[in-house]
Symmetry: C2
């Protein structure tokens, strides 16, 4: 075959559902020379990653580390370790990622009770309470904290209190929330959580930070059956990421360099400052859109700061505008998924991508695309309001 030319990626402004843009320090870290995964220097760095992840997850959990796969691998890691065939679980579903969680649990042999809300709405604590009453033997309750498919934040702090008093394990998906809004694992009585690197941590995709409480570890240690995944078996991974350093797999060296650099950026900025920045830019975007009469599709009061479900105006071709934003302005935004396909744009303001400049670039480009497509919007008003 003819060898293809070297790949030169275009320079994009990444305002989709992830990946977000990475800081120069993160890209630079990726290009550092390789060391072995058992090199003393790498092992020290792994310890620093674990410490920094604990700070970002706001937890003391010993078992806090990056799974060597993407966010979906982290989801599967939590579920395969905690669920055995026949276990009762309750999964909250108000978007793609809740649906996926139920699918993964069923593949582990779980008997799943689905607690549902329409896409764009939240799961209420009362719904979970009701399900817990009807399923007193539930071993685990799973909720997506930030539903990336709809831009909604589920009330996990309140739900955590209910799950705790029921005695079930509490699992949350923090793929899109971690680093962009408060995530408080210990305070919220969360037993298991997974995230992704490519959202508000602004690291390339490829690793999934996870954390398991001591109760969750106990459940994993005291299983009657073997974990069905060898790759994700926490009993083996604890030996590799723990003090014994028992060989399991070869950790992705360069990706861990990148995660180390990205976590440094998060902590140097400070969690509170970072959350505030995400909130401010979300509010600026929302105000700018309101000035041109474009609302968000997600429930008021539960809108994510980092992922905005922007309603496509009537008569506007969703895909055409999205394609034009990419081709003419190098701006990536996401399409709607499932029942929201064609109805929303998913505009991410995550990590490095969450900036006042990007809000203004997006609004000005969107207005131009809409006007060129025949709509009549006032770009000046949108920018003045942002």
């Amino acid at each position: 075959m003819t060898t293809p030319a070297p790949f030169k990626p275009p320079h994009r402004i990444l305002l989709g559902p992830g990946p977000s843009n990475a800081a120069p320090s993160v890209l630079n870290a990726l290009a550092q020379p390789l060391v072995g995964h058992l090199d003393p220097s790498f092992i020290r760095m792994m310890e620093e990653i674990k410490q920094m992840l604990r700070a970002v997850f706001q937890t003391k959990n010993q078992m806090t580390f990056p799974v060597s796969g993407t966010g979906s691998a982290g989801m599967e890691f939590c579920i395969v370790n905690l669920i055995e065939p026949g276990d009762e679980v309750i999964i909250a579903i108000n978007g793609v990622f809740g649906t996926r969680m139920a699918d993964v649990a069923e593949r582990c042999g779980a008997r799943v009770t689905r607690v549902e809300a329409p896409w764009g709405q939240v799961i209420s604590p009362a719904q979970i309470q009701d399900a817990l009453l009807k399923t007193p033997d539930a071993k685990l309750v799973g909720v997506v904290h930030a539903e990336t498919s709809t831009g909604v934040e589920n009330p996990v702090a309140e739900i955590g209190r209910l799950v705790k008093s029921s005695g079930a394990l509490f699992l949350i998906d923090t793929v899109t929330s971690l680093g962009g809004c408060p995530v408080k694992i210990d305070e919220w009585s969360v037993d298991a959580a997974y995230s992704g690197t490519q959202k508000c941590l602004s690291c390339p995709p490829g690793l999934s930070p996870v954390t398991l409480s001591e109760r969750a570890m106990e459940a994993a240690r005291n299983r009657k059956t073997r974990v069905q995944s060898w790759y994700l078996d926490v009993n083996l991974l604890a030996g590799y990421w723990g003090s014994e350093r028992v060989y399991h797999h070869t950790a992705p060296i360069s990706m861990n360099y990148a995660l180390h650099a990205a976590l440094r950026e998060v902590l140097e900025e400070g969690l509170e400052n970072r959350w505030r920045r995400h909130r401010q830019n979300h509010l600026a975007l929302k105000s700018g859109l309101a000035a041109i009469k474009i609302p968000l599709a997600s429930a008021e009061g539960f809108q994510l700061w980092q992922l905005n479900a922007v309603k496509v105006p009537d008569g506007v071709d969703e895909a055409a505008i999205r394609t034009k934003l990419l081709s003419d302005f190098n701006i990536e935004v996401g399409a709607g998924l499932g029942s929201l396909k064609g109805k929303i744009w998913r505009v991410g303001l995550m990590g490095e991508s969450s900036s006042r400049e990007n809000v203004r670039l997006f609004l000005s480009a969107l207005c131009q695309c809409l006007n060129e497509s025949g709509a009549q919007v006032n770009a000046a008003a949108a920018l003045a309001a942002a």
Copy 2:
């Protein structure tokens, strides 16, 4: 917490069982700015990766792509998709990675027949023939091509002929072989193979190139039960890596940049040239070691070019020498695993790390370490013979 300092990895000469050193073009590719995983430019690059992987695997298999995890995830990918509970499988075991394959198959509910040989020896085609006669319903036969734990190459071409006439599926582990010695998927009638990026492809760890034949895909499509892993379900991954681009997970963008660059290096050098280079440097190392009376521990005639099991001389402290090679000479070599612990050093000459210079640096450093520890070896003789 106090934010740790930026991580500055030491510059190592990586002569262990992987990772190997990466070419500058590969490190440079990692540092390129991110694009979205559904960006048209990324999708074109994914196609080029698939084409290049087919060339390197020597296959026409449509389903040839990098799994978003390390080599062990690739092993699990092949097995979870092809095996259903109760299936009979035959696994060849003459080292760590054959043992692991059997473990993964059992976690899928397989009934495993183990065909064993002592570590350092090969599995003979006659052993497989015998097992096939005793297990006529075997659905799959799994063999590690290059056993990284012992430095032995199993005769997969001959075994492939036997498996083909039995009607079973043939699975091989090419983690350490791919790019360093002939791997001929179609010619050898292989139905499923997985590899790693960090060995003879000289890309950082984090992806697992895999290939499935049409027969294997048929087996996966016609399952009676669902694939137990959502993350590794080929029926979902075929939609993501196929022409439909159905969202499944977010591919590790930067790692795919790196793999693209690494595959370009392989094809620009040419497979035959690359294999010859690996062979020459292996022979040089072996000659140099023979001059100081240090033999390889693996069976003569089946020794891998890319991974040399070097016998630790009597009375020499294996770990002390290995630690000194790293601390004083920045040279990483691997320890023995399992029953070979303390008895061998695993010296990898893989990908970029397989060079005449590295053979000479290793031999000179090893001689110095041995002499300083009280042994008497002739460094000049070793270097003259290499």
